[in-house]
């Protein structure tokens, strides 16, 4: 692995910026779910949660600056998760 990639330093200011965005997204989730949207609020809340998770993984966990191997492994783990959630629902919804 390239040493430069491994040792990327993320500045305090950038990290604080990410944190602010995370707080804003949290406030947005609360606001959206206080309104009666029926089933849509589950989708909206989960979409925002995924965006927040993406920010945490990319910046706080440095994934944006990792090499290809780690990124592919993350992708593989998420695909595995999606497959077992997807197949379970295929069973639950059409039983």
């Amino acid at each position: 692995m390239d040493r430069h990639e491994q040792h990327h330093i993320i500045g305090y200011r950038k990290l604080t910026g990410i944190w602010l965005v995370l707080l804003i997204l949290t406030a947005l989730t609360v606001a959206i779910t206080r309104v009666e949207l029926g089933g849509y609020k589950v989708i909206a809340a989960l979409t925002i949660a995924c965006a927040k998770a993406g920010l945490v993984i990319a910046f706080f966990m440095h994934m944006k600056y990792e090499g290809r191997l780690l990124r592919w492994l993350l992708f593989l783990a998420l695909v595995t998760l999606a497959i077992f959630i997807g197949l379970t629902f295929f069973d639950v919804l059409y039983r």
């Binding site: 779910t33 945490v56 706080f60 966990m61 783990a77 998760l81």
Partner: protein, 200 residues
């Protein structure tokens, strides 16, 4: 003291990520159970979920996001060789962890005080969906809380290492992996909060 052992930096980080993937699948399984039972008992889940105090959940979300920021900053500080700052920032993360657990304690004890806990008479006599909701609530937040405690202990140990100089600008993989574990705790909570406190 100063003989540098060759360290497989990437190998250490790869190992940590592989472990985190297994954690992801563990909590993924719990979220899957939640989703399947939400589909089966939508009304009972709504009644039960509204008994949780979302303001406490929101407070804990802010606390955990902040703790994650401090942990990420600690890694930056270590990379820049600012040892005292590393220790202070990890200290901040651990304080947040303690705050989180205190709020969790009040939440759980209030629920248990109202007779809501797995196997309680009140839940047994109520509709099965509510009982399932609270069982999932206790097991998910319980395992998550266990991770908070383990993560805080891990970070405390790493802070001691940093203070003695064992975690420094040329060797900070221990801190980086500890911080990764901590971020996972934050990551899981990002999903627990809307699912249990908000969407129902």
């Amino acid at each position: 003291m100063n003989h540098q052992e060759p360290k497989d930096y990437f190998g250490a980080k790869l190992g940590m990520w592989l472990f985190l993937f297994t954690e992801l699948l563990l909590f993924g399984g719990l979220f899957l159970l939640y989703a399947v039972y939400l589909k089966r008992y939508p009304h009972e889940f709504a009644t039960a979920g509204r008994q949780l105090d979302w303001t406490l959940g929101a407070t804990n979300t802010v606390i955990l996001l902040t703790s994650s920021l401090l942990a990420a900053m600690a890694v930056t500080a270590a990379q820049r060789g600012e040892t005292r700052r590393v220790v202070a920032l990890i200290g901040g993360t651990i304080l947040c962890a303690a705050g989180f657990m205190v709020i969790k304690y009040f939440e759980w004890s209030a629920k248990i005080g109202h007779g809501i806990y797995p196997g309680s008479e009140q839940l047994k006599s109520g509709p099965p969906g509510e009982s399932v909701f609270f069982s999932l609530y206790y097991i998910t937040t319980g395992i998550h809380g266990l991770h908070v405690v383990i993560g805080a202990l891990l970070l405390a140990w790493i802070a001691l290492k940093a203070r003695s100089g064992a975690v420094n600008a040329s060797d900070y993989i221990l801190l980086e992996n500890g911080a990764l574990y901590w971020h996972l705790v934050d990551l899981i909570w990002i999903f627990i909060f809307p699912l249990y406190y908000l969407v129902l």
